[in-house]
């Protein structure tokens, strides 16, 4: 009896961990364990070279707010911490969760949740129902951020 209660509690906890954001069509479900998402969203590791290019791309929006070790561009933001050393400060799972849903760490954050497509207000016609980044793009960026060691 006691054992099955524990079992049910574990099941509920596990299903709650599948964040509602991931329910929207086309988003792969992910599991938050403590303060990270340990498993790759795509099931395979990302490409750090592509990830660096993505972080620098204006459409990805990262360097609107962040600066980092990017000597080739003057147009970097200062609304957010410099990304240099991010790979020392955070585990891969934490970096992944931060990209997927930064509000998990700080509910008031201005950093957008990059893998979320519902619960938003007045999303532009061209963007409605889509996350800012695809699962593959998230994995590429996570792979790149993990290489940022002082």
């Amino acid at each position: 009896m006691a054992r099955s209660t524990v079992h049910i509690a574990a099941l509920i906890a596990a299903s709650l961990a599948f964040v509602p954001g991931a329910r929207a069509e086309g988003l792969v479900p992910y599991k938050i364990i403590s303060d990270g998402i340990p498993e790759s969203l795509t099931g395979s590791p990302g490409d750090a070279v592509r990830g660096r290019a993505l972080v620098l791309a204006r459409t990805t929006t990262c360097i609107l707010c962040h600066s980092g070790p990017f000597p080739e561009t003057r147009f970097q933001g200062d609304l957010a911490p410099d990304l240099t050393g991010a790979g020392n400060r955070w585990s891969v799972g934490q970096l992944r969760l931060r990209l997927v849903d930064a509000s998990h760490f700080n509910p008031e954050t201005i950093m957008p949740s990059y893998y979320r497509a519902d619960g938003l207000v007045r999303v532009g016609r061209n963007f409605a129902g889509k996350p800012i980044l695809s699962a593959t793009e998230i994995e590429d960026i996570v792979a790149y951020l993990a290489t940022l060691r002082d």
Binding site: G77, L79, L120, V121, V123, F127
Partner: protein, 259 residues
């Protein structure tokens, strides 16, 4: 939050009437001008180099030109704009009793065209509309903003404030996140200002033309990947009204120049 901290926060909110956390105290408000580099300031400071003045001159000509089937010019009703229009733009958007809602200066000009000149409305952002509103607003240069003082405008100011505070778009950001909380910082290298609407319509070097406050608001909305309100939409007017009331007492500087 600790008990004492909570008390301190409440005390702060009580001693600063009407000011929400994050809002800019009135003595700390700054025009977008103060965020610009010396070159851009120099363009605004000198009327002979300010490209906005070309629109003002066009507007002056249109003011005196008879138009519409009534065959009347603005000047036929209002006379010399230097007197009749002084301080008017500093009160806009203004509550219109007939319509029961606030109207922008652009909308007022089109109401005058419809009601008094029997002329077709000028499209939003058209050269003629911008020229007329720049000419009218220039008569308020240096005049302190009072828009939103009318008690009937208050609910619309409040609506605008709520819109200003509302996160929106795929990037899920509110106006206040940038313009109250992060002015003086840089978005991809460009300075963020307090979004004080003191200089509209204004010449934006990036646009290579004069543009309205609504154009600016719509591009900020597009920037956070939100669906921008149509020109003249009540929400946009409410936002404009809130911005003006937030800039209460600041001097008008139309036609301003911005990067």
């Amino acid at each position: 939050m600790s008990f004492w901290r909570a008390i301190a926060v409440v005390a702060f909110l009580v001693t600063v009437p009407g000011l929400l956390a994050g809002e800019i105290p009135s003595d700390a408000r700054r025009s977008g001008y103060s965020f610009m580099g010396p070159e851009t300031r120099a363009i605004q400071d000198d009327d002979t180099s300010n490209p906005g003045m070309l629109f003002v001159l066009d507007g002056e000509a249109l003011w005196a030109k008879k138009t519409g089937s009534a065959g009347k010019a603005c000047a036929d009703c209002h006379g010399d704009a230097r007197n009749s229009m002084k301080g008017i733009a500093a009160r806009y958007p203004a509550f219109d009793k007939t319509l029961g809602r606030p109207v922008t200066l652009d909308q007022r000009i089109n109401l005058c065209r419809a009601d008094h000149q029997q002329a077709t409305p000028l499209p939003y952002e058209s050269r003629d509309l911008l020229a007329l509103s720049a000419f009218v607003a220039q008569q308020s240069r240096g005049v302190a903003i009072t828009a939103g003082d009318d008690p009937q405008a208050k609910p619309f100011v409040e609506q605008g404030r709520n819109l200003f505070m509302q996160r929106e778009g795929q990037l899920n950001l509110a106006c206040t996140n940038c313009h109250d909380d992060n002015f003086d910082k840089h978005l991809a290298g460009a300075p963020i200002t307090q979004a004080q609407p003191t200089g509209y319509p204004l010449y934006r070097l990036e646009w290579q033309t004069l543009g309205s406050l609504e154009r600016r608001l719509r591009s900020c909305m597009a920037g956070v990947r939100a669906q921008a309100y149509d020109y003249g939409a009540p929400e946009l007017v409410a936002l404009e009204l809130y911005l003006m009331s937030r800039a209460r007492g600041m001097p008008m500087e139309t036609p301003a120049v911005r990067p």
